[in-house]
Structure formats: structure tokens, C-alpha cells
Symmetry: C2
């Protein structure tokens, strides 16, 4: 009466439960025992599919970031929208909690998840920087931007948005708006865009 599944099926099952547990208790506090108990498999089964606990984390990070980057890429490639909309859309696509569930993104910033957070950030940055910098170059040609260092500009914008928008828990609505406006202003300056040119693009995206 032993239940057998394909390797892919079982791996995804493990990742699903790992995602839940890391969100609930954090990577450090969630044990491999927690995972196997919740699924109802034996210890050996888990280690048959993944070589270590960290390997589970890596696979999970891969799965989580793949979607976000794909979404970002889709927005960037869609030339039917104006350039500025594509820029803001690509960035926003990263921050908004994907379908998987918001509780993950809420707990991700807790100290127990420092590793998860760092790995996700690394992947997101390296995956999206090329997209954004290409967009910046495009803007340079149309005259919308005037950036001397598109790669580094993209890097700076993405790193900041990833870190700074982590800790927006204890902020009032007013502070939040202020922080958002500051961000827009600084992005405009970094890109050499006209002042106020980005704000409407963000509205376009959010109301879409």
C-alpha cells in the first residue's frame, strides 16, 4: 500500500509543503521532520529527492523567482504599451505578491528567513537587471531618458525597491505615499527623465 509518485510530482509536493512551513515558521525553525510529517513520507524519501535542506531552499527560490521574472519579462517585451508603463510595470510585477499566497511575502523578511531572502534577492536582481537596463537604453534613444550607466542605474533602482519596500509594515498611509513619491523622484533623476514623467505611468499600471 506504498504510494509511489513520479519524481517531479513528489518534488513539487515537497516544495509546496516547504513553502508553507518556511512561511509559517521560517527556514531555520522549520525542520525536515516537519516537512516529512506533514506530507506523510519517510525521511529517506525526502533525501532521495533532495540532497540537503539547503537544496530544497534553492529549488524553492528557483520556483518562486521564475514566475516573478517571467512576469517582468512579459511586461517589458510587450511593446504595445508606452515605454514608461513597461518600466514601472516590470518593477511593480516583482513586488506584488504572486498567486502563491501573500503570507509567504509577509514572513519572508523575518530573521529566520535571511537566507531565503538573500537568495531570492540575488536571483531577482540578476534576472531583471538586464531587462530594465535594456529598457533604459531604449529610452535613451527615444529621448525619454538620459542615462550614462544603464546597467548600474537598473541595479540601483532594483536593489533599493527590493530592500526599502521590505519594511513598510509600521508605516502610516501618509508615510507610505511620501516614500513612494520619493522613490519616483529618485528614479526619474537617476534615469535623467523629465520630472513628473513617471508618476502617470505608475497610475496606468496600478489601475490596469
Amino acid at each position: 500500500m506504498r504510494i509511489v509518485k513520479t519524481a517531479e510530482e513528489r518534488k513539487n509536493e515537497i516544495l509546496d509543503v516547504a513553502e508553507q512551513l518556511f512561511a509559517e515558521k521560517g527556514f531555520d525553525n522549520a525542520s525536515t521532520n516537519d516537512i516529512i510529517k506533514r506530507i506523510g513520507i519517510a525521511r529517506g524519501t525526502l533525501y532521495h529527492h533532495f540532497g540537503s535542506k539547503e537544496e530544497i531552499l534553492d529549488a524553492l527560490v528557483e520556483r518562486m523567482t521564475r514566475d516573478a521574472i517571467a512576469r517582468s519579462k512579459a511586461v517589458v517585451s510587450d511593446r504595445s504599451h508606452p515605454l514608461l508603463d513597461r518600466l514601472t510595470g516590470a518593477i511593480i510585477a516583482l513586488d506584488i505578491n504572486d498567486g502563491a499566497g501573500p503570507e509567504v511575502f509577509e514572513q519572508i523578511h523575518k530573521p529566520q528567513n535571511a537566507l531565503l531572502h538573500q537568495k531570492m534577492q540575488e536571483r531577482l536582481i540578476s534576472g531583471v537587471v538586464p531587462l530594465i537596463s535594456e529598457l533604459i537604453r531604449e529610452g535613451n534613444e527615444t529621448g525619454a531618458f538620459d542615462s550614462k550607466y544603464p546597467d548600474e542605474a537598473a541595479e540601483m533602482i532594483l536593489i533599493y525597491s527590493n530592500i526599502a519596500f521590505d519594511a513598510l509594515a509600521g508605516l502610516t498611509e501618509e508615510e507610505l505615499v511620501h516614500k513612494g513619491q520619493a522613490f519616483i523622484c529618485h528614479v526619474e533623476r537617476i534615469l535623467g527623465a523629465e520630472e513628473g514623467s513617471l508618476a502617470p505611468a505608475i497610475m496606468n499600471i496600478l489601475n490596469r
Copy 2:
């Protein structure tokens, strides 16, 4: 023949060894057993001074960041130097490895030290942002800068310099210079400073 020391002495001894070990093996891989063996104390002694392994980490982070922030503060407060020198000096003071030893800063970015890294970053940012933003306000008055959001500008500059200058391991000399120039350019734009006004200030600091 039991060796007794004051609590402060012993605590510092523990932190010294912890710093070594975290640098050698990373926070996760260095066990409390490693610490007590290297010092030659018993398990109970360690837990008499620190309530948990994470408490050791916190104390260590405190001790490490205290110096860096103090250095930064000293530079900012020294009004005998020009404003721009104080700005660049305060930022550079954070990145340069302090006397403690460079091996710590080399290993700090490894995955096993994600927690340490995150906690240090948080403390550094929250400690130095007020200093820098005050400096920016000062520059606004003298006309050197034109920043609408001094706090967020300081935050953005500090976060980027902390993250981006982590991974400069596999870069050529040329790439490094390019990245440095890009950073200067973007800081100037964020602050609304005149183009090229920051570069000489950085030279001043580095050659001091």
C-alpha cells in the same frame, strides 16, 4: 584552579572567538561547541553570559557596527572639511574594513552568514541614514545639493553602496572603476548636485 573573569571580560572573549569562527565557517556552521572548545570553557559558562546563540550574534553585530557608525559620525561632525568631503568620507568609512580584520568582511557575504549580513546592514543603515540626510539638508541650504527627499535619498545611497559593493570579487580593475563612476554619477543626480562635483571629494578622502 578554576579561572574566573569579570562578566565583561568573558563576554568579550566569547565575542572575539565567535567573530573568528563565524568568519571561518559562517554563523550556521560554527557551533556553540566550537566556541567553548576554542576558549576552553564549559557549556554552562557560555549560556551564563548569553541566552542563546542568536544573542551572541546580536552582541557581535552591535560591537561591529558601533565602531563603523562612530567613525562615520566623526567624519560628518568635523566641520573643518568641505561638505562634499564629509559626505563621501562618511560613506567610505562604512565600507573600509576596520582594524578588526579583513577576513571577516570577506566571509560575511557567504550564504551561511546571511543573518549576520542582514542584521549588520539594518543597523548600519538605520544608524547612518540620519547622519547623511542631515548632511544633505545642509547641502540644500548652501546650494550644493537640491534634494526634495533627503531621508530617502540617504537611504537609497546607503542601501545601494552596501549591497552592490558586496560582490566585487570577480571584477576586473576596469569594471571596478566603471562601477565606481556610475555610483558617483547616480549619487550626484539623486542629490541634485552639479555633475562632476563629487569626484574630487572622493579623491580627497582616499588620498588623505
